[in-house]
């Protein structure tokens, strides 16, 4: 039997890795992957709590989070493609027409 704390710590670590990835990585594709990582750690937390509380609401939420993740990825990648056609790059540092 694995304690709930272990799940929570694991998900917190993956979540932080995801956040750092979004903030630090410069490749738009990797940024989207990091966001996926964040959402998946959310899923892990939800499932862990769901099992712990004996309440299936959390598991139901997971399905919605997965859908949200898929939709965001679809739109996000489409936007990356549109941008790539204009600028021939997916590096965030090169995307700098707009600033302060």
């Amino acid at each position: 039997m694995v304690e709930i704390q272990s799940y929570l710590i694991l998900s917190a670590i993956t979540f932080i890795i995801g956040v750092v990835g979004v903030l630090a990585r410069r490749n738009a594709i990797i940024v989207f992957m990091s966001i996926e990582l964040m959402l998946n750690s959310v899923n892990l937390t939800l499932v862990a709590f769901s099992a712990y509380l004996g309440d299936t609401t959390g598991q139901m939420l997971v399905f919605f989070v997965m859908t949200v993740a898929a939709a965001e990825a679809a739109v996000g990648l489409a936007i990356v493609i549109a941008l790539f056609r204009n600028k021939q790059t997916v590096n965030i540092d090169d995307i700098n027409i707009l600033k302060w």
Partner: protein, 499 residues
Amino acid sequence: MVEQTLHSLSQFLPETTLTITFCISILAGLILRNKPKVIPVISFAGILLATVFAVRQMGSSQAVFSGMIVVDPFAVFFKLLVGSTAVIIFLFSIYSQEVQSTLKRLVEYSSLLVAMTLGMFLMAGAVNLLMMVLAIELTSLSSYILAGYTKEAPDSSEASLKYIIYGALSTGLMLYGISILFGLTGATDVYAINRSLAATSVNSVALLIAVLLIIAGFGYKISAVPFHFWTPDVYEGAPITITAFLSVASKAAGFAMLIRFFKISFIDFNLLAAHAGGVWGLLQGFEWNKILAILSVLTMTLGNLVAVWQNNLKRLLAYSSIAHAGYMLMGVVVLNDKGLAAVLVYFMVYLFMNLGAFYVVMLVANKVGSEDIDSYKGLGYRSPFISVAMVVFFISLAGLPPTAGFIGKLFLFAALLDARWVWLAVVGALNSVVSLYYYVRVVRNMFLRDPEGSTEPIRFSFPQMAILLLLLVPTLLFGLFYSPIVELANASVLMFGVR
């Protein structure tokens, strides 16, 4: 079960109308490929109809779809606000060059606007965290695409990318916060969260982290500092009509959700029921309003100070809209119905003045081809009427009488002083002095400077002027006769299940 669903559907008429309109718009786009101009008409009619249905919901107060969504005066108010904004945005779009130059993709434009409106309608009524997330996502996904609508323009797709990255990040943070809150309370329904928090004491550090993360999600929607980074870029890069829509409707829906989440989750209902005056007590001694007070000060101060340095009018208005979010947050901080009523009054006023300012920017950009403040030099002599209207909108945004903006500020400050938040009121008042400086910079260019280059008068057509008057007249009228908006706001602070 079936009966309940049927009953729910009857209370879901505005949203159903929007859903059907969305589907019809897409189908019509496929069938009537050669007549793209028909689709916006369909979408427009659908939104208008949905708004009318929302008006008919006035006064009702009930939960539908097994407590996922409520129909109450508060939700109806925001539906009306969002619906009217959408209607006005469609009127703007008729004269928007950015939109009209991409006739082929008009289907996307108008159907996504409908989807966005639908998302915001749901945001206004959502009382379940799951529903809130889904509503936010529906709104956000549509707006990501619309922000990059003129995809040939590099800044538009750039805006879109920044928007989705920040958006997805805040959604992630918010969802993580929700998962922790779910773990603490075992519920996703805000009423159930309230009951759970009232019954058992929870780990206060975990609660703080969860709420901070959830604030990140709301803060992103209302563009509060430090979740505002996307705002200037998106406002500048997106087509003006979309910018205007985001600046009013999206912010309003975000506020609706933020207020509802905090008010229902963390207020001691027993205390509220015991006092007719609406005394609010906070559960678990958790003073989240202090967090919001700090956010509010940061938001308005940063918005105003950075706006001073802007040379692009759209970007200037973006920072000004950040500052306005800060003003409105002050009303939430107060923690009573007076504060909420002040926020609602402010939103009604903000609708007219902010849309008006964006409309003038759009009209001028159509003729001059630039949104730069320098291109406004001497505009007062080339197109006096438009310039005077712009002055009125700016004066109203700065909060000077006799315009409606003053009434908004008046009620906010009144709520703050009444609750003895004197320092916050002083900060807000000083901020409005700063804001005057950058609004007046534009006024100065229009009237105090001579035109550069062409001095030809700029003329606008009669319908264009009519739309302008539609926004100008209320901005002035509500400054002198504000009973209707205040009465509507007073009636609209009622939420289902509270008191």
